[in-house]
């Protein structure tokens, strides 16, 4: 009986004092760490009122611009907001939040977020990178483990909203997050009016059904570009848009006029939303200020809090709030 594992449970306890092998010790430690992390995730889940995932079918459609814009717009309205950037393929949230070059701040085993514009708390995969221009090539399990750690070990404190910026496409990350973080309110899908981007956002919608995280709606980014000008009052002006398309407007009594040009085709996000029966959250204009802001680290919403883009963002935020607020399934009696 000496070799039997039963000996370990000898009621006399003679073998209980025997110290576990290094391997057992390691297993116990990792099991303990996992349990602690799980509890921490539950705790974090409770402390964060709303969790919103931001996804897109492909890269470059403005997912990070929208994530940061939503976070800042919510912060503008007085909410406490965090943003978690787990886009390993190109974590550019810190740049947009004026936190370029920040490194991960760890204290007593807990990760502390950096504070960006308007007090928005930021955690980004970029904080782990030695050199931002070298993309991380992490194999699946390591990557997913890192994400779980990122969720379980971050000291967010109390938050009204956590916005999560994902890599483009239907990758593993959203599933990992959806499984680790309880009660995600839903996902916002960012698209541009181009057909290719639309096609991909449709994939995202089907994807959401398999994740069991609801689609809060579709945002159409880089929707139209508005130009404004001044001429003689009440005269007709002709503006040539992309593709030589002519736009005719009449200036007002002060001589001001403005035309919104379709950089791509407008309205595609709306029709995707309609076709799939998911909410359409609104359009964000094409605004070169976003590109400048991304480069010099001052987000458009911060540099121009009353500008057209900030107003457009506020509208999208309202639409999201109405989705996650009192639901129309409220008042539904399920017996």
């Amino acid at each position: 009986m000496a070799d039997s594992p039963v000996t370990k449970h000898d009621p006399k306890g003679s073998d209980l004092l025997e110290s576990p092998s290094p391997q057992q010790q390691k297993q116990m430690e990792s099991a303990y760490a996992n349990m602690r992390r799980k509890m921490a995730m539950q705790e974090i889940g409770r402390k964060i009122k709303h969790k919103i995932m931001v996804l897109s079918g492909k890269g470059g459609v403005g997912k990070s611009t929208v994530s940061t814009g939503l976070a800042l717009s919510l912060a503008q309205q007085g909410h406490t907001v965090g943003i978690l950037d787990i886009d390993i393929t190109g974590p550019n949230v810190p740049k947009m939040m004026g936190l370029d070059g920040k490194r991960l701040h760890v204290e007593q085993g807990r990760i502390h977020p950096a504070q960006g514009h308007l007090g928005v708390k930021v955690i980004s995969m970029a904080f782990l990178l030695e050199d931002e221009d070298t993309p991380v090539v992490w194999r699946g399990p390591i990557k997913l483990g890192a994400i779980q750690q990122f969720i379980g070990d971050v000291e967010w404190g109390q938050l009204d909203y956590l916005v999560i910026d994902f890599p483009p496409g239907t990758s593993d990350e959203p599933l990992t997050v959806a499984q680790s973080l309880p009660d995600i309110d839903g996902m916002v899908i960012v698209t541009t009016p181009q057909d290719v981007a639309l096609l991909d956002s449709r994939k995202s919608i089907t994807f959401s059904e398999s994740l069991k995280v609801p689609v809060l709606g579709v945002v159409e980014n880089m929707s139209g570009y508005t130009i404004a000008g001044l001429t003689t009052p009440e005269t007709s002006v002709e503006v040539a848009g992309p593709g030589g398309k002519k736009h005719r407007v009449t200036s007002d009594k002060d001589g001001k006029f403005s035309v919104t040009l379709d950089i791509f085709k407008q309205g595609g996000g709306k029709s995707t939303a309609e076709e799939f029966g998911v909410p359409f959250l609104g359009e964000l204009p094409f605004d070169p200020g976003f590109v400048r802001g991304g480069d010099d680290g001052v987000h458009r919403i911060v540099s121009e809090p009353d500008g057209a883009s900030a107003i457009a963002f506020a509208k999208v935020v309202e639409a999201i709030k109405s989705q996650i607020g009192t639901s129309s399934s409220q008042g539904l009696e399920i017996i």
């Binding site: 449709r202 398999s210 809060l216 909410p279 109405s322 129309s328 399934s329 539904l332 399920i334």
Partner: protein, 116 residues
């Protein structure tokens, strides 16, 4: 999205559920119909051709009778959790309304996997 009346009551019976709407209309949807029309990416393509649709139907009908757990999804949908069989589908209220009214919830359109 056309306007549909608000679902105010869902009562689960052993093999079907009763749906009551704000306009006073009432319907019964069988769990077999509900499960056959699962909108998830795995079940949907099965309904594209008659042969696989029939086998999906048979599969659904052979499942043991059970009352599902019902979850609300965001503002616009319900999901049904079953002990056996597929629980992945998110049923928009429009879909449930179509089902209740005996219409094809897919609107006669075939499902193409990730490639519209």
């Amino acid at each position: 999205m056309s306007e549909i009346p608000q679902l105010i009551r869902l009562e689960r019976n052993d093999t079907d559920m009763d749906l009551s709407y704000a306009d006073g209309s009432k319907f019964t949807v069988t769990y077999d119909d509900l499960r056959f029309t699962c909108p998830c990416a795995k079940c949907s393509p099965e309904r594209n051709d008659d042969e696989s649709a029939k086998s999906l139907r048979r599969e659904v009908e052979s499942l043991p009778a059970e009352k599902p757990k019902v979850r609300t999804i965001g503002k616009y949908a319900l999901a049904f959790d079953w002990v056996k069989g597929c629980s992945a589908g998110i049923y928009r209220f429009e879909r449930l309304w179509a089902l209740a009214n005996g219409q094809d919830p897919d609107g006669g359109k075939p499902y193409v996997h990730g490639a519209w």
